[in-house]
Symmetry: D2
Subunit: 354 residues, 4 copies
């Protein structure tokens, strides 16, 4: 498929929340999609979005959605055939399943369906072929629409970084410690009294996702099924007092020997699979490898590639496994709304929606 | 030896810096030591301490030192036989070596002599027997005084945590990621523009110390020499926007199997060696094991045991090694000035000084 | 009355919130009061305090209250005759009125009754005589108990500072701008996404209280009624990313001329009225006047006098009014729980309760 | 004069500092100016800018300057006829005076010459006519070049806000309290230990500038001399833990009565003088008046108009003077480098340089 000739009308579910607002912002001038409807929290129902939404992003609410009414989260929503879901996971499970049978493609940021064997968990730079799971999904569930998910914000950058290592050298084990921004917990999210001048070494349910989701995405598709990648991951999750950007310290053991230069080259030279290279959200570089001793840093690097590039730095030998490095990814852009939009572009390109 | 009958006169070298001020503060009402002289930065020489020192700790400058003149960092300093050194490492190497030959015991927070085979690197809770290295030191260097050092603030809590694990189960490998407070870099130290709302995944020379110093302290003393403990450590160091308290995420592989309860029991039940149990700086608990899911946290836990207790939390299985946990230690108290004072108490008790 | 011979049993209403926890902490070793009962949020009812309360203060939950059951906020609560109320203002209005008729003295941190003409709004250092309003209150409402309130945390330090100026020189106008800590908004209170690296120049309803409450407290008691002080105040309220301590910039116009030295002397020399000087919560100094150019600062000065002293600094001429200065007060100690306890001590001393 | 047909070659003095980097960044794609030379700190002399400069802004060092050598701060610098000076004030006084006699126009961010009666202190939106002071300056000093300055970052937004009030209603008195970002102090500037979780109610020399500079800029030009505006200003300066954006609380007394609507209209409707309206740095709106109760906020509003728009909010009556409001301005863009560039555009347009 080529780029659509007109902007496809879409809706955003949960548009008043933190990730919902990112969807609205990133879609403002999107060449393929146009937000024509949106849903939001109960207490704001019926109000204009521009008035009922407590906008927490820099810059004004996009003019194009200011007057849209905040609808309840039930289909149909504006008669669209594609929705982005920023719903809380608890609500998402039921709500998204009401859309998919109606011929609507749901691109979901929620964790509700990520573990389902017939639901693709997608990073276009990593596993665009996994989108074909939707055939299985439709057959099995009798849906004319679909649900496609993007992974947890914390391991998005990790999975993108592991992909070229896996392809080139194989990956056996990975030790990861995250330092995550407060925006990852939504709004109001983390109370300021908990995090000002503090670190909280715990995020509910996060470590399980960190240890599992990469395996699905890095897994091979065989006979319409995903065989999880045989990588052993250990994860520690921490919340730190920063606003945007999830950092990860990674130590990794490769399956075959590689010197530092080869590893650096594999990272720098990584390109997305052909199908994902020219999409509107494709960043100039999938991975940027910083040579400076003290980078990446959230304040300086989080907006690399408009928040879609994964920045890797401090690549160096590890005395325990093979290599150490630091990974930074924008949690509400590449790790949430931007990633979900990227997925929708991919499936449109693949002819699976639209 | 018993407790001294009168407070021993001591001096603080580098008393105007961040760690120097902690020495001054912690020694204010110390039962064994009394600060009678101090040295400081060149631009303040000759001024009264209370006027020439830019005091950066909460509360007033202790009255007992307010009027002391700021002296140059050259012996003799007040005719004392015991000094605490908060000198920058570059200066410490030369300066401390001018004190030791004069019969003066130098308790140094600097890294300058930590790697010397004849200089004890001491944590009284861990390796009080290593203090006997001073015999070798005196013989070899012809000193009548001595230099004894305390370790890098970042791995103080780690080494204390590894000690009971080593004793009970053996330790093979440890993976550690630090999240360190800005006070660890002294004053003025980290520029605010670098760290406000940011994380810096790099601290110069820190990781080398983190991977090496614990091995010396956990090593065995044989024939007057230390055989480093055969533990393999991989360290990542990060600076985070908090004021006090270094946090560590640790994954550890034990030499022999132990269940969670046994590990918890080893940590909670750990007691300092007999000689170190009743010193003025001995905390009520060497290690406190938190049962709460999201602890330790710097804001809530850093002052445990007046900043001398190591707080461990989130003890849980690790899918890669054996156990994961989080460690918190006060970097300028237990990890710096408080630790150095504790060492001096130990050597006094052991009859090696005084 | 003299000090009580035994600790008076008291209860804390709303003990699970941020101010409630401060009450619990400050009362732990209080010489006159002992917490024997407490109430808390609905979702924790019936649990032990130590288990149902999400404790957000440094240090452990006091052992003496750990096992107390969390009761509903309805009298009787443990059969006590004195309660401290940390209830939200909405609930406080109704709830506190259920206690007072039962012979119970309610010391309330809520704003619900502050404006009532028969309810004392008290700072023992400032207007201990206003406590006699309780006679009017009892007569008018038929209560055998009473309600006494402490003022908004933000203007506590201001009112204490204005008092000696008013006494010595008269005060005509005051211009104040606050920079307030997040703890002033309770827990969870201010979302971290709103305040990390940010300033919010607005706090709902705060400026009205700031412009009015000082007038009542600085007013004269005539024929059992308070004549508000004729001071004209303009207030701007701001929230800043600090944890504890409300700062105020003040420019003040005096009624009669005074030179800088006289103003400084009035502040430094200020003593509480006789009746308030020897209470358990009386700080060593009511006001501390800092001479350093860049003080007070929350991090360094907020705990002055155990959080009960008001710290004033940067006293200097004002080109528009007469003098400029900066005021710091601990918002959850002097400005909330500590102030309410101080009030209870006062009324006990005055024989109005107990 | 019309827009230049080719980009004018310019140099940046002090290009390695915080404001110097902003100059470099803002000039990267400037339509009228092109950086061809730069000077920097002694320790980096001779190195390539891209290697010798510790770049502290988000995003990479502009490619066009990466290879430029860091020159000493002495003319000639690349043979340019226009330089932007981000020199520290101490150095600026002497250094800038070495450029001006050589026919070079110096646009200086330093305070060194702001108070000179023959040196324009310029905000193109406010007093573009003051640029004619350069005629006096050239006559008096015998210079073929010139020095033109932009004001202190803190009162830039204030002066822009006062201008329409002055024009429409007259202004008698203004009370201002600032809450300033750490970037205003340059790099390394404010130590993190001083400002993390803290407020510092003092900035050296700042209040004098705040009380004086607006009077010069709002003054009238008569017979080639500036008569300072007869406004009485009282200023309190505070440093708060935010990165970018200076906030001001303002209470203002007008010379003639005006209702809220009229004041709002004067602010919203304000346009720059004709000559300044179409310059490359002219923002879409000089002033944006926010209607939301809790705005402006640095995080959300500081980049309004690419950091060149002044955002005013919370306009409301003041019980002491006439109106209260909050003002936000980007301190390193509108208040420093961006303002200086805007000035150069103005003088080019006026035919005074180029």
């Amino acid at each position: 498929m080529n780029a659509p000739t007109a902007r496809l009308p879409v809706a955003v579910l949960g548009a008043t929340g933190a990730v919902g607002q990112r969807f609205i912002q990133l879609l403002e001038n999107h060449p393929w999609f146009k937000v024509v409807a949106l849903t939001g929290s109960d207490r704001a129902l019926g109000q204009k979005y521009g008035e009922g939404c407590r906008w927490i992003l820099p810059g004004p609410i996009p003019a194009g959605v200011f007057d849209l009414p905040i609808l309840p989260t039930l289909p149909p929503v504006g008669g669209v055939s594609l929705v982005f879901s920023a719903l809380p996971s608890k609500i998402a499970h039921e709500a998204e399943a009401e859309y998919a049978p109606l011929g609507i493609a749901v691109f979901s940021n929620a964790s509700a369906y990520r573990q389902e064997t017939d639901v693709p968990l997608l990073l276009p730079e990593v596993n665009p072929d996994h989108s074909t799971l939707v055939h299985l999904q439709r057959r099995k569930r009798g849906w004319s629409g679909l649900i496609a998910t993007n992974p947890n914000c914390t391991i998005t950058g990790l999975t993108i970084t592991l992909k070229p290592l896996l392809e080139n050298f194989g990956v056996r084990r990975a030790f990861i410690v995250s330092m995550q921004a407060v925006s990852g917990a939504g709004y109001p999210g983390v109370p300021s009294m908990d995090i000002l001048g503090n670190v909280v070494p715990y995020i509910a349910d996060e470590e399980d996702k960190m240890e599992w989701e990469p395996l699905k995405m890095l897994g091979a598709l065989q006979d319409g099924q995903i065989i999880p990648a045989p990588i052993n991951i250990s994860a520690h999750a921490n919340r730190v007092p920063i606003l945007e950007g999830h950092m990860l310290c990674l130590s990794v053991e490769l399956a075959q020997k590689a010197n530092l230069e080869e590893v650096a080259q594999a990272l720098v030279g990584y390109q997305a699979p052909e199908i994902s290279r020219q999409l509107p959200s494709t960043p100039p570089a999938i991975i940027r490898l910083s040579q400076q001793a003290d980078r990446p840093q959230p304040r300086l690097d989080v907006m690399s590639g408009n928040g879609m590039t994964t920045v890797v730095g401090r690549l160096r030998p590890d005395p325990l496994l093979h290599y150490k490095m630091v990974i930074l990814s924008h949690n509400t852009i590449r790790g949430a709304a931007g990633g979900s939009i990227y997925n929708a572009e991919l499936l449109l390109k693949q002819g699976l929606v639209g």
